[in-house]
């Protein structure tokens, strides 16, 4: 199916989200749409899927102008969309989820058997390996995504729009997923993939459209471009894709972990007898497929897990800190940038200045007067302005609620807050998840600068490129154990990937 957007314009209040977009997607191709957060790529695709209607412009399907006013119009035309956040009913089976909204049978009876059979056939045709009778909540994230694909295919989609489909997948799952997309292309389907990961664009797409500030700034053939050019188009300036750093000058051991084990709430082991150390002035990276104990490791070190779940020795600066609360650990100089900034890192409804004192709100300079009870608003304001200036938080307005910032700016605010402690040990998890390329570069430079100032850094990231680029030493976690320690410069991604999935070098 050939899809054309012509002169599509969409305005949200004062923001011009899409400004006269012209995008042509030929039939039977995989087409990537890239751009930073807020560039307007999702808006354009939601217009194509009927979630929004354009203020002006037209949509052509196979050369004919079509009026798409709601998702059901798009579905009727053969357009399907898989959202970044899955829209599945977790306690229901795959079949029940897929037929939802288009239930087979009459009003009085529901014929699921026939539906299950055709879902099974579809699954086999595209080698999706999804059992129609499985319950969705028992499936892995990758499988759930394939259920979403099946949902679109079951409704006879000829063109699939995928919004950031790889954000939730492990490197292995990404490979499988790309193989599925290629099979779909082979069957004549058209695929649009929205992403901001350049390596994936280059790996999977035939053509690529680059968007910036609501406009199309480039329509390229993937084979004729490269990552640097795409990044420059996306950001509007040259971007350093590599991290520049000198060899680490490691000092004394700051953090020492011996035989650390963590029990989950369900009694299972999240971390099993893990030992390692982090020295001043070095970055120790932790690689691993998500859910292999990284989250628990960081939370245990930050003092956020109940003591009963943690066993083993944690010493910081030569002193046992297992008994210390999160507050005392921060006072001792342990900063923590959490993996999920919305859940842990920010008070979204609070202003930037209120967020900047989280964790140090009870002591000087945040409080003064009446025996250190009253918040010292001018001092808090000054600290907020300092963080905003030093960490380039935009818009630079300390009274805005944190919710009003983009993901990258929220992350810069958290990093600024933690770096201003100042820390002797930084625990930093997924530092650039959902962050624009320009901000990624900035954050990486700041982390290296902190290391060079003598801070010990423990870095967890699901992005292999990120940990290998930043870390001076790299631990690989698998199933709660350290599967190996590698030199991030010498080891190949294949070798690390092997350790991540339980293999041996």
């Amino acid at each position: 199916m050939k899809l054309e957007l012509r002169g599509i314009t969409k305005r949200f209040g004062a923001v011009l989200a899409n400004d006269h977009l012209d995008i042509t997607i030929p039939s039977g191709t995989i087409h990537a749409i890239v751009g930073e957060n807020g560039a307007g790529k999702s808006t354009a695709m939601r217009i194509a899927y009927g979630f929004y209607t354009a203020d002006s412009g037209e949509i052509l399907v196979n050369g004919q102008a079509r009026d798409i006013r709601a998702p059901r119009d798009a579905i009727a035309l053969g357009i399907g969309m898989v959202h970044q956040h899955f829209m599945l009913v977790r306690p229901m089976t795959v079949t029940e989820n897929i037929v939802l909204g288009a239930e087979p049978g009459s009003a009085w009876s529901l014929d699921l058997r026939k539906a299950a059979a055709s879902i099974r056939a579809l699954s086999e045709e595209f080698k999706l390996a999804v059992d129609p009778d499985a319950v969705v909540e028992d499936l892995s994230v990758g499988q759930q995504q394939r259920v979403e694909l099946l949902k679109a295919l079951y409704r006879r989609a000829e063109l699939l729009i995928l919004d950031e489909p790889t954000a939730v997948l492990t490197p292995q799952e990404v490979e499988e997923f790309f193989a599925i997309l290629r099979r779909m292309r082979g069957q004549g389907k058209t695929v649009i993939i929205i992403t901001h990961k350049l390596s994936e664009v280059l790996a999977i797409s035939d053509d690529v459209t680059v968007m910036r500030d609501g406009r199309v700034v480039g329509n390229l053939r993937t084979s004729e471009t490269n990552a640097a050019e795409l990044a420059r188009l996306m950001v509007g300036r040259d971007v350093l894709l590599r991290v520049e750093k000198r060899p680490a000058k490691a000092g004394a051991t700051v953090l020492s972990v011996r035989g650390l084990s963590i029990a989950g709430r369900d009694g299972g082991r999240r971390l099993d007898n893990v030992s390692f150390g982090v020295c001043a002035g070095e970055i120790v990276g932790v690689a691993g497929v998500e859910g292999n104990g990284q989250t628990e490791l960081i939370e245990a070190l930050a003092g956020l897990l109940p003591e009963s779940q943690v066993s083993g020795a944690i010493s910081f600066g030569g002193r046992d800190i297992r008994q210390l609360s999160a507050r005392r650990r921060r006072e001792a100089g342990i900063a923590h940038v959490p993996e999920d900034r919305h859940r842990r890192g920010l008070l979204l409804e609070f202003s930037l200045s209120e967020n900047v004192i989280l964790g140090v709100h009870y002591r000087a300079p945040a409080v003064s007067g009446l025996g250190s009870v009253l918040l010292d608003e001018p001092a808090i304001q000054r600290r907020a302005e300092l963080v905003i200036r030093e960490f380039d938080v935009r818009p630079p307005n300390a009274s805005l609620p944190a919710r009003a910032l983009s993901g990258g700016n929220q992350q810069k605010l958290i990093i600024g807050r933690e770096f201003e402690l100042p820390p002797a040990l930084l625990l930093i998890s997924q530092p650039t998840r959902g962050v624009d390329i320009g901000a990624i570069e900035f954050i990486h430079r700041k982390i290296v600068a902190l290391r060079d100032a003598g801070c010990a850094v423990l870095l967890v990231s699901a992005e292999l490129e990120e940990v290998t680029a930043l870390a001076d030493r790299l631990l690989v976690l698998h199933n709660g154990r350290v599967a190996g320690e590698v030199d991030p410069v010498r080891a190949t991604h294949e070798q690390i990937g092997l350790l991540m999935t339980g293999g041996h070098l």
Partner: protein
């Protein structure tokens, strides 16, 4: 600007409630103009109307504040009714037991007993939540029944004056009386029970405002209410905050006893509360959980309460139930507005956020929409 916007929607909600109320009066077959004249006119007459309206508003300010503080801390305290009964009884008990103390000692002692009683009663569901994770809504509701039964029992079997046919205790010592405002304001007769507790209510609003927004303790309460996981990350003990917030909430509800016992009846009178604890939820809701909003909302509800009697007496067909209907309508429209805000947020804010945030804001709007369906 922000203040105006915050005022705008509650005002619309109140206006809508009165409009629908007028339709109901019309349907019943009476004159809305006449009904509203009686309803509102009596509240603003001097001295009785204003005096009684402020007197009625006093307990609502306390309970509204109690609910608002708890909500700021992420807790829904439906137990203000029970807390104020326990507190009022504790206040009266202190006033009776230490009846011979001089006023400078007895008044503060009675107040402390009331605050302590309310705080203690509210801390129970707080502790249950902190230790066992049991939900405060269930426990506060249940403790309402326990509280009413407990103070009823104590009144009936231990503190009722012999031969008194009414469920009430004996009188508190004269030293525990707090002055009626008629003593200071010319033209306000002393028979009107408006007393110093009203000033205490206004002072409490200011203190709660300072506590919540100007101190580190308030920061921790609000942070816990807004995002407990983030507060925990910031070194706040969630368990401690839950108990503390409930205790503060209960103490505020308990101050109703000061108005009732020390300023009005000078004894504990069983069943005195006209659902103050529950109306407090509506007051907090209409007042947007802000101490100053609570004052305005409490005054509105007091006006309605005061106006019900003349409506009952002087209209042909409308009974004072119109007050309940109006209160319910106000709550309904305030709630509708909250839902409206949630649904409209994506689009409304997408515009004001600036470029960087356009896409995500819209995504939220969508989820809001699908959530409603």
């Amino acid at each position: 600007m922000k203040v105006l916007r915050d005022l705008f929607f509650p005002l619309i909600a109140v206006a809508c409630a009165f409009l629908v109320g007028a339709l109901i009066v019309l349907l019943v077959g009476d004159s809305p103009v006449e009904t509203y004249r009686l309803l509102l006119g009596s509240a603003f007459s001097w001295p009785d109307g204003i005096g009684y309206t402020l007197f009625f508003a006093t307990p609502l300010i306390f309970t509204g504040l109690a609910v608002a503080v708890a909500l700021r801390g992420g807790l829904l305290n439906i137990g203000a009714e029970g807390q104020l009964y326990v507190a009022a009884f504790a206040t009266a008990w202190t006033g009776i037991t230490f009846a011979n103390l001089p006023a400078v000692l007895l008044v503060p002692l009675c107040c402390i007993a009331g605050l302590g009683g309310g705080a203690m009663w509210a801390a129970i569901p707080g502790i249950l939540k902190a230790r066992f994770g049991s939900h405060e809504v269930i426990n506060t509701i249940m403790l309402n029944f326990v509280a009413v039964a407990l103070v009823g029992y104590l009144t009936q079997y231990h503190y009722r004056m012999p031969g008194d046919p009414i469920m009430e205790t004996g009188l508190i010592g004269a030293g525990a009386h707090i002055p009626r405002l008629g003593a200071f304001i010319p033209g306000l007769p002393a028979r009107i029970p408006l007393n110093a507790a009203f000033l205490l209510a206004l002072l409490s609003c200011w203190l709660v405002y300072v506590l919540l927004w100007k101190t580190k303790w308030g920061y921790e309460i609000r942070a816990t209410g807004q995002n407990p996981a983030a507060a925990e990350y910031g070194g706040v003990s969630i368990r401690k905050e839950v108990v503390l917030t409930m205790a503060i909430s209960g103490a505020l509800a308990g101050m109703v006893g000061i108005n009732e016992v020390l300023g009005y009846r000078y004894r504990y009178y069983d069943g005195f509360s006209d659902n103050y604890g529950f109306t407090g939820i509506a007051v907090a809701l209409l007042g947007r959980n802000h101490p100053f909003g609570v004052i305005v909302a409490a005054l509105l509800f007091a006006v309605l309460q005061r106006g019900g009697v003349p409506v009952d007496a002087f209209t042909q067909l409308v009974s004072k139930d119109i007050v309940l209907i109006l209160q319910a309508l106000v709550i309904l429209f305030v709630a509708a507005e909250a839902a409206f805000r949630k649904g409209g947020r994506g689009k409304g804010e997408g515009g004001s956020r600036g470029k960087g945030e356009g896409e995500r804001g819209k995504g939220e709007g969508e989820r809001g929409k699908s959530g409603k369906i």
